[in-house]
Structures are given as C-alpha cells and as structure tokens.
Symmetry: C2
Subunit: 629 residues, 2 copies
C-alpha cells in the first residue's frame, strides 16, 4: 500500500507517475468499482473530474472528510451531484471511510446514496438537482468572509451541462458583486450532457469570457494535465476575484469504450465490461492521501445554541391595526440582538417584507441577494451549513421561484427559515402575479416542514421567535395590510397549537381560519351572534403541524359542521390540512363549506378581493347559516 | 389633436419637439394620470422607459394593439410588468383603448390590471413576476423563426433590477445559441430597484459585456435620447445576432421630485402631488400614433384546431410490462404526426422522459432547452401565445424549478402541457434529489389545472391525447420503471374519470391508487382475495379534476373504509384530493388509512423503496385488514 500526501517523498523508482496522477487514477478505479458493485450510478461523469479533484485534495484543500463542519475547514460542494462516486472515492482515499463501506454505494441503508446527502459525512449539503451548488457556495463564502471572518476557501465542482441553469449565473453574479475571492468554481467541461453534447461543447474560452464579464478570474486548461490544474488552483487562490477553472476533460476518461460518449451517461459497466474497464485502468494498490487538516481559526461570530438574553419585542396597541409583515420585521430586528448567529437574506423586497428593520439594526448580518430568489435560498443553505441561522424572505408568490431549492433543503436536512409576505388576494390592486395563493400547498408538501400563518402582530412575533429553534424548513406567511391586534404580549403560541377565539356551549358550527380570514371569521361571528347564532372560531395559525386535537373537539361539539376560510387556493392548504387532521382519527359526520380562492383575481381593493373570492365575512356567515339550517 | 405616425409630416411650427418626444411625453403624462386616478401603481418605473417605447411604437413596431395574436405581428412583452401604465398608455396612443378606459387602471373589473394579463388585449402573456419576459420572448422568437418562418421581431422590455434573475440569463444563453436575431431586449437601466440601487447601477458597459459574452450584439445608449434610441433599434434589426439595447434612464424622468429616487417606487403621486407632476410635465394635447400594422405573412405551420387524422398509437403486450414514460414518448410521436402545431420542449432529459421519440419523428418541432427548466416552460408559453400546442417535459422533481413560471402560466390563461417523469420513490437508487414527491400538490394548487397520473401504457396514451384539447395548465405524471399492462387499446379514459378495477358485492374497503400504487393495490387485492376479503380498487388517474361520484359510491358500498396509497408526500396529493372530493358532499362515516411517503428516502431498489415508504402491496393489504377488523 502506498501512502502519498503533501509531506511524503515518493521514491521515483517506486512510482513512475506523478503523485497526483496516482490518486486520480485511484479515483477512477474506485468510481468504476462502485458502479460495478451497485449496478448503477454515474462513473463516467465522475471519471472526467479525477485530476481536478486529485490535485485539489492533495495539494490545496484543508478539509476533514470525516467531519467537515468546523470553521477551519475549506468547503467542498459537488454541484454535479451525480458524480457522487468521485466524492466517495475521495473520502476513502482520505481515510474517512473504508473500502468495504465505499462498495455499499447505492445500497439500501448505505450512507453512500446515489446523490450525496449529509448522511454522508463529507457532504455538508445534498446535491443532485443541478445548478444549485454554486449558489450554496456563495452563501458559504459570504459566511466565511463576512461573518466568521476566517480563511476558508469554497470549492464547487460543476458539470458543464448545468452551466445552462440560470441559478448558476445568479451565483456568478453575486460572487462577482461581493468580491468573493475565496470562491473557486471548478467546471468539469467534458462536453457531454445526459442526452448529447452541451451547448458550448469544449469551447472553454466561451465560459471564460462569460465568467470574466461577471467579474471573475477565469482560466481554461487541460483538465487532465495535473501541472496545469495545480497552477490554476494556485492562481485562483492568489486572485482577488472569485475564480473559475474550466477544465477541458473527457467523460469516462481512462477507459477506451467509455471515453467521450453520452451512451454511458448514468450507466455503470458491470460484469465483464467492468473487468475490461479495470484491466484498462490497471488496478494498482490502495492510494491514501493525507489531506491538509482544517485550519486553526476562531470565527468572529459565536454560534450560540441559546439566545444571549431576552429579546425586546415592541408593544402593539390593543385597539389598533398592525400588519403581520410589520411585526415580522420587528421580530427579526429584536431577535437579531440576542441571536448573534441570526442572518437575514433579502431579494430586493426588504422594504415590503420588512426585513429592512433587521438590516437597519444589524447591517453586518443582512445580505442583499437582489432579485434572485434561487440564490437567496441557496445562500441561506450555505450559511446554515456553516452554523448560522438564516432567515430568507420574499413575497409568498415569489417563493415559488425557489421551490426546487426549498425541496432540496429538506433533503439536505437544513434548518432554513423562510417568510413569504403579501399572502393571498388580500394584497389588493397589484393583482395575481404578486399574490401568494399556492404557498401553503407548496410548503406543506416539503418533508419535515413547519408552516405558520399568524393573524396578529403579537402572534407573529412569538411564532418568528419559535422558528429560531425549529429543525428543518420552517415557513411563515405574512399579510401585507394592517389587521386588528387581537392578542397580547403575554400570549404564548406553540408550533402545533391553535387558538379558540370564540366558544360557547351552543355553537352552530366551527369556523377554521388563519391570517387574514381570522378577522373575517370574527366579524362573521359578531354578525351571527346578533342573529342568535354561536360559532366556534379557531385561529389555526399552525397549518403544519396542525392542531388536530382542538379541531376534533370543536368539530364534535358543533355536530360536524365545519367552515374553513383561507386566502389560498382550495388545494393543499388550510382546508385540506383540516380535513386530513380530522380524517386521521376517523370521521362520523362532516358537513363542510370550504371557502378558498377559486377564481383568477383581477385588480381590486383588498376588501373587494376578499369579497370577490368568497372568503370574507359575508361568505363565512352565509356558510354558517347554510350549515346550521 | 395631433396625429403623428411613420407617414405623417409634422409642421415644425406646429410642434417644436421631435415627433417621438411628443409621444414619450404623452406616455409619461398618462402614466402619472393613471397612477393618480388609481391611487397606486408604478408610474416612476413607467416614466423611465418612455422614449424607449415611443421610438419603438412610432417607428419600428408592427403591432395591432387591439389584437396582437396574428402571425404578422411583432411581439411586445413587458417583462417589467409593473410598468403596466406605460403599456396601457401606448395602447391608448395607438387608438386601441379610450382615455376613459385607460383611467380605470387597477379598478375592480377593469381590463387594465396592476400588472398586465391577457385580459388586456395588447398583452399576450401575463407578467409581473420579474425575469420571465425574455424567456417567453425566446419561445416567441423561436416559433416565429423556426415554425411560422415569418418575419416577426420580438421586443422585450426589461428592468435592470430583474437582470439579476437567473432566468434572464437562461434566455440570453438560449437566444445566443439559437441565433435569434429577431429578438431585441430593451433594458430600462434606471439604476434603482424597489429598495435602492441595483448591483450595476448605471454601468451599462457591464451589461453590454455580459450580453456580448453570450453571443449577443449589445449597445449602451442614453435611453432618453430619441436619436440614439432610434439608431439602436435600427442596428438591432440589422444585426444577425439577438440584440440588447441598454438604455441609461432616469426613474421618474420628467418630474423633478420623482426623478432618480427609490422613494417613489410603487407609489403614485395623487392629489396635489399629481397636479404638481402634471404641471411640470405640461399636459399638451392627446397624441395619437398610427402604429405600423401587422405584416402580411403566411405562417409555414397551420394551427389546426382539429387533428389531421387518427393518430397511430402502438400496441402493448397484454401480459407485458411497459413504463408509462415510454408510452408517453410513443404518444407524443404519434400525436405529432396528426397535430402539426404540437411542439415539444426538453431540458436535457429527453432520453429519460422519452420526448426523444418525438424528436426523432418530428425534429423540426422539437426544441432543446438544455438544463434550464424555467426557460423550457417560458418558451412553451411563448410558443403557446403564437398558437402552438407546446408540451414540455422534465423529471417531476425538476418541474419544481419552474414553479413560478407554471403559476404565471395560469395567470396568462396559457394552454400548457407539462409532463413530469420519474415520479416518486419508485425511481429507486438515484435517491431523493431525483424523486418527484411534491409535484401533485404543486400542480393541483395551480388555478384551473388538470393533473393526470396514468398507471399503464394504454392509459398514458389516451390521457396524453386528451391533453391536446385541454385548456389551462395540464400535467401528466409518469413513472420510470416498467409496470404491468392492464388496459387495452379500446379503453377510453376521460379527464375527470376513474376506473374501478376490482369490485364485488362485499368489499371490505375501497382502495384508491394511481400510477405505480395501482399495481400495488391490485397485488394486495389478490392477496386479500385469497383470505376471503374483497376490496374495491379505484384507479384514480384523474387526480384533478377528481372523480368524486365514483369514489362516493364505492365509499358508501364499503362502509366508509378507505385506503389511499400514493407515491407522493402526504400533503396536497391523491389522499387530500380524495378527502376533499368526499367532504364536498358531506361525510357520514370515514375510516381512512392514508399511505404516503412520510420519510426521507435513501438509495434502494424500486421495490425496496415502495416497501420502505409503506405504500406497497403489503402495506395496502395490512391497511385493509386493519380497517376491516
């Protein structure tokens, strides 16, 4: 067994090849071995980047492959997540996993999944949806440079096909704008996508021109020439710009029948073919590399597990009207004072979402991503990976732009806080392009998510505070317009809870509402009271997890007569959450009126919108009367 | 009243200003008037682009503002949709709407919404979610050039803030790659976004360098100098490249207190302030422009309302197994032969989604968008606006990347056909990054959508065929692996229907399934039959609209005992659709077991995945036994 590392002198007679090449070779061999064992995988996509990664890990990378979370680590992201065999082979070469485990690739129960997730120690984020890695890297680079303020380089391996994804250019733009000289994008330009050639094929100069136009340093090299690769990394680390290394490579490099063809994309040679491949490559011994350890650094920000004190939230006038988006802004600013690791990201809407309140109070921890929602969520993921508590906000409608990133955040087991403002038709005249009408469905469907929808400022503040300690993806939905203050400073709101706002011994029906419809429901209840009709009104601010117990009781008390009113499409939102909650325990009688936005709104005032959508006070009262009749 | 148009000679003594400037001025005046009347809107964002649009409409544009759908029209997209007042003012100047109607801006019931939708005749697509217009323009330019093969220029007005959106760069990349010399991007570089300065402010040369790096011609001019604007358009139309005109402009140009500030973004001066603005601008008379009419052209493709014949679908072996994704590919190819206006778009996954079958049969109508899902859906919208029937496909998981575009397609009243393959955990070893687990929720929540999920090849073919005539957004979910053929060539499947596959007089429970779980349900039913237990099995292939009637009957017959099994998250999918369908008519007894994917899958074989998710045959049988006990 040979051990080759930065400090090892290798007798030339023992090895006639360059040290890096021995490792690159081993990475290829192991990629083929993994694919052969699993019967599937992307070995050819892994083989093209072998030198690009071998030089990095032997010479430049400071990384604990077994535990890369600490602040002294560089960062390594495989944006081309399907090249997972390469990452796993690197981890083996680094001694972080054994060969036995490496060969469990893609097997049920294995940490070595088809595309990397953080179940595998060397991967801090899950990748596999192309075009996401560089944006995450931007977040990590920003955190290292501006927050931790430590020396830490972020290396992102990209495929050339994924350079067509706009999210990559959002990242390239942000990195240029923020002078992220600690970010290195390594493009494995093997010319071939899944189906055939990429747009630019081997036109490395075109990629270079594009990156340079966005303010990067960029070079185009032979990606299999280890001296050129080494020089490129060296130059990248010297540069005061973010750097792109475009390596001209060959897909399937090293095995004749695999080279430079799309035919073997996503297919692994097995049996005789695998033997043939390994014969061509030559099997050699087991190469181990001593990777430079994480640097000894002290980050400037402490990642507190507990807040440093009690946050100082404002008071709201008990007879007043305050928009929940305003309270959200207040909450962020107050929480920022006691959570030194709370960071906030904006997409050019901070004055509307009210994250600007945090920006004013804690400018060093506020990050403007401009109109680039994918990048905003990606950066939040990167910062979370470095131990920060990110909160990213945009209009609920525009959170849909980042849905693939939110989905992948759950695969990454990231703790991500998101806020979507301007919910529903209630926004008024701006019209449907600006209305969040699908966001409850979108966010409920994300694995392990929490979905919260407050109706008053005190509730908003408490729920925002609760989000500081939630795991997974947590989403807060806020309203544009001023709505009545109905709670007080002493009120507590648990995730998974609800509030029963009106209750009598003789309620005709249960009305479930959240956000803006809570106030409509209360108005309807007052009207109905005047008619001698009682209603149970539940503020179901925790859309997920849903307070099934309270609903079931109320439902039982009101003879199974239920009205749900939501400023959201009928599918996947509050109504379906309520039904699912009731159904889980069995239903013996249900009569429901589900008021939701079933039309395509135009422009109109907020009140006109609620009426036109049939989700306002008159519709709620009418629904109750219908059920009670 | 002055009438100034391309053929009008204006006496210099009558007007001392350049003809274009009279129109530009009028567009500013009307933007302010609209905002003042509505009390809201984005006049300052409209005022900066007045010359850019005045010169276009007076000198270059061939467009029927009252009816721009025909093939001889140029295309005009306001990617900066919030500048809607400018579009409406242009329509008035063109004589397409009256001043009275123009002043109904943002009022309830008005066609002149806060952001343009196709309810307004001059807008072919809805905009307002920034960064979408250029991608749509790419689709229109491709259709005009490659399909219609007519002379037609596509003009897209963008703001500078939205240049941060990756989708804009997907479009810029595609236009460069496809040599769309009929596409002109006009960037209103007014330096200020909503919240403050953009990243590049007035660095027009930076935008130019970026566009040029992607293969465009680009110029940077004074956006208020009508001679420079005219020359820029002229050069753009001469160029054999797509062209970008970056106009250095001033937000709120023309009114001193509105100029060059973000303070008035999205705010309209009213009352005295409006009077002050109009005084400064000067009110003049009413300028009317005779816009050049659509060209007299004959498109190469006829947009048939009916197919030209019977499609020739293949047969499938009745005892065989065929993947629904394969049948989808077969269907597209066959339909392409009888629908000359069917076009197919791919995101570098055509061999996996099987759109490649269409590409082989009808290469002229197949459009490779590479790995850029937002652009793929945007191009589909553009082609739809030109009368084509687009079908765009990617992995169901990656359709989430384009969710904001799908959402806006509904606002655009577009007829869009989408297919998401590789649904669910059933894909196997590739793991969760590649699994569509949220797509049913996402697509159900889109206004007016149709959501279909076939389980066998014959059903897939029939449903794909049915999608040819659907309005709105229609989504088909397909499966990666081979599944049993259970239907025949003569079977018909209606949108909104279902199929009861097993039924007896004494069924213990109803099992609702779709796609892969239909086969699991049938296997469970066979096992249970061996135990003397009958089950009603419903193939609920039409997830939306859902066949409530059949479900309610079965539900009634089986004492309210219901099992739903779906290869999807529990939220927003088949189970909640079934519950909602039952609830709508009232429920008197329900006991349900909802089998869905509640964990985060790893890598495993397809069968292992179904078992681990608890949605396979054993789980279904166990659930039935539990309910029947």
């Amino acid at each position: 067994m040979s051990t080759i590392g930065p400090d090892t002198t290798v007798e030339r007679s023992e090895r006639e090849i360059h040290p890096y090449e021995a490792l690159a070779h081993q990475l290829r061999v192991d990629s083929v071995r993994m694919g052969a064992e699993a019967g599937s995988g992307h070995p050819t996509s892994s083989m093209s980047a072998a030198e690009l990664m071998a030089v990095l890990m032997e010479r430049f990378l400071h990384y604990d492959f077994a535990d890369p979370g600490g602040p002294g680590n560089d960062r390594l992201i495989f944006s081309k997540g399907h090249a997972s065999p390469l990452l796993y082979a690197m981890a083996k070469a680094a001694g972080a996993i054994a060969d036995d485990e490496m060969l469990t690739f893609r097997r049920k129960g294995s940490r070595l999944e088809g595309h990397p997730t953080p179940r595998f120690p060397s991967a801090q984020v899950a990748t596999g949806s192309l075009g996401q890695g560089l944006g995450i890297g931007v977040g990590m680079a920003l955190a290292a440079k501006r927050l931790d303020r430590v020396e830490s380089n972020v290396y992102v391996l990209l495929g050339d096909s994924e350079m067509a994804e706009g999210s990559v250019w959002e990242a390239i733009d942000k990195a240029g704008f923020y002078d992220l000289d600690n970010l290195v994008a390594v493009v494995d330009m093997n010319r071939l996508g899944q189906r055939g050639p990429t747009e630019l094929e081997w036109d490395g100069d075109a990629y270079v021109r594009r990156a340079e136009a966005f303010g990067w340093s960029a070079v185009h090299i032979d990606g299999h020439d280890v001296d050129a690769v080494e020089a490129a990394y060296g130059a990248a680390l010297e540069s005061d710009r973010p750097s792109m290394i475009v390596g001209r490579t060959v897909k399937g490099k090293g095995v004749s029948f695999l080279e430079d063809t799309s035919k073997w994309h996503g297919k692994a040679p097995t049996g005789d073919r695998a033997e043939q491949a390994l014969d061509e490559l030559g099997r050699d011994g087991q190469v181990r590399v001593r990777v430079a350890p994480p640097r000894d650094v002290r980050p400037a920000v402490s990642k507190a597990t507990r807040p440093t004190g009690e946050p100082e939230f404002p008071s709201y006038p008990s007879d007043g009207e305050v928009a929940t988006r305003d309270a959200f802004g207040d909450a962020l600013a107050a929480l920022g004072a006691v959570y030194p690791d709370l960071v906030v990201l904006d997409g050019e809407l901070g004055d509307s979402t009210r994250t600007l309140a945090f920006a004013d109070a804690h400018p060093d921890r506020f990050f403007q991503m401009y109109i680039a929602e994918q990048q905003m969520v990606a950066a939040a993921m990167g910062m979370n990976a470095l131990g920060y508590r990110p909160f990213a906000a945009t209009f609920a409608a525009f959170m849909t732009r980042a849905y693939d990133f939110v989905r992948m955040a759950a695969v990454s087991r990231a703790n991500l806080r998101l806020a979507g403002s301007h919910a529903g038709v209630a926004i008024g005249e701006d019209g449907p392009s600006q209305m969040g009408l699908e966001d409850l469905a979108m966010m409920r469907a994300v694995h392990g998510s929490t979905v919260l929808y407050p109706c008053d400022p005190y509730q908003t503040v408490r729920l925002t505070e609760a989000m500081m300690d939630l795991e997974g993806v947590a989403y807060l939905r806020t309203t544009r317009g001023d709505t009545p203050v109905i709670y007080g400073a002493g009120d507590a709101f648990e995730v998974g809870g609800s509030r029963t706002l009106r209750s009598s011994a003789d309620d005709a029906a249960t009305v479930v509402a959240a956000g803006v419809t809570v106030h409509e429901a209360l108005a309807a209840a007052r009207t109905l009271a005047g008619e001698g009709v009682g209603v149970r009104v539940i503020d179901a601010y925790s859309v997920k997890p849903f307070d099934a117990g309270t609903l079931r009781s109320a439902f039982h008390d009101t003879g199974g007569r239920l009205v749900v009113a939501e400023d959201h499409r009928p599918e996947g939102g509050l109504g379906e959450a309520a039904l699912a909650a009731l159904a889980a325990d069995g239903i013996d009688r249900l009569r429901i009126r589900h008021l939701a936005v079933r039309h395509m709104p135009g422009s109109a005032t907020s009140d006109e919108q609620l009426e036109a959508a049939g989700i306002g006070r008159r519709a709620i009262a009418a629904a109750v009367r219908e059920l009670a009749a």
